[in-house]
Symmetry: none
Subunit: 139 residues, 4 copies
Amino acid sequence: MEISLVTLKDARNIFAAAEKRAAEIGQPMNIAVVDSGGNLVAHERMDGAWIGSVDISINKAFTARAFNIATKDLADNSQPGQQFFGIHGSNHGRIMIFAGGIPLKKNGHVVGAVGVSGGSGEQDQTVAQAGAAAFSVDA
Amino acid sequence: MEISLVTLKDARNIFAAAEKRAAEIGQPMNIAVVDSGGNLVAHERMDGAWIGSVDISINKAFTARAFNIATKDLADNSQPGQQFFGIHGSNHGRIMIFAGGIPLKKNGHVVGAVGVSGGSGEQDQTVAQAGAAAFSVDA
Amino acid sequence: MEISLVTLKDARNIFAAAEKRAAEIGQPMNIAVVDSGGNLVAHERMDGAWIGSVDISINKAFTARAFNIATKDLADNSQPGQQFFGIHGSNHGRIMIFAGGIPLKKNGHVVGAVGVSGGSGEQDQTVAQAGAAAFSVDA
Amino acid sequence: MEISLVTLKDARNIFAAAEKRAAEIGQPMNIAVVDSGGNLVAHERMDGAWIGSVDISINKAFTARAFNIATKDLADNSQPGQQFFGIHGSNHGRIMIFAGGIPLKKNGHVVGAVGVSGGSGEQDQTVAQAGAAAFSVDA
């Protein structure tokens, strides 16, 4: 058995909370959870959610763990003229620089991340926040 | 809302049956389900399963739907000297030519696929079969 | 600070032991160490070692962690007609199926891997073994 | 034995100076050194540094050698409306257009480069400068 600080059970709790929020706002979503190594723990595409968002949700989660930052905040630094403009060309296309990816923390350490894609930036963000909050409560 | 013949609920039923079988044989697995478009519906990595099998499980499912064939059977035709040798170099690395990917059928039509990776070829196959059987029963 | 079971100091110890062995057999090598997530901790190319082996050493280490197996053993199962033939086409070209990648263990758990490339399979393997042994002693 | 103007010993000197500077500013970094062919000589990820910066540090070094320019200066020419806008889409994702990559010179010729990633643009730049300075002194 591997040592993992984000289990499949954790991912399911995150999915349940995120899907509840997605239902509230009436927008089906792709939701992904990665562990501390940035590797996928689990992914779910809600019925009717965009197929182009499979990749985006997984990579928002990867990005949030890769730099220990919410992708929404990375976005601010990755615009033309800003200090990280061009970062979206690194890591073989896995860096997502818009809202929806949020690190998961345990005892102050980032141990994984959740990524959500399927609606507007604001919608993705609120669903990701709901998912991340479920992990904190659970921890 | 998209019309999809493999729902998230279907994927969860497949996961439950596949994980039961994986537990029986004592080997944690990655399990993936794709829809009729070959696009990911959901993926789960059981705790302790190989991280290198995330990609493989997803792509075994893709392959099984892409050619409407069990990857175990595609394997026979993809050996050196056989008619499809070299096919694993197509589709940008998404074609898996070993056991563990099985098409999902509804009324005789392939509507998706399940892919399993995490053990020997024989172990992957038996877990994928358990998952696929749950879909048929459910349908 | 991240929790990591393979530190930079560990990597340097592995490098020292591996380079000593490489010097003994008179073959300069590329040596790479990855952590439990398969992510690179450190890489060194000894003076005169092949540039084509940069990628190979890093990916042998990735492979050994991705499947918790020595790449030498994976090789046996990845030949034409064997159960994993075609696995080298997965994971976006990161799977190396020849000798030189060895998992690093702590308390019976795989927590990373070392990858060596720069000579014959036998040479790569003996240098990787020397590196892995230094980690075990240190642990 | 290859003729290389950036040896592994050079890389270690660069690492030592760069890590000293990184410790001073309290930010763990990824540091990479490439030779005149743009090929990796060595890479180190300091404990706790971002895993997403492995790729970026290596490719900042590649970029600085590929165009014999500091990536910070390339950035100015790669913004929307500027003469090199879009260059980050070339070379299969290996071109980094933000601060942290600096050419290494010997007798006025570029013979390699150092790349640093793990903090703000300003932090990456000061650590890369410390590393590059160690090479000049050493030469």
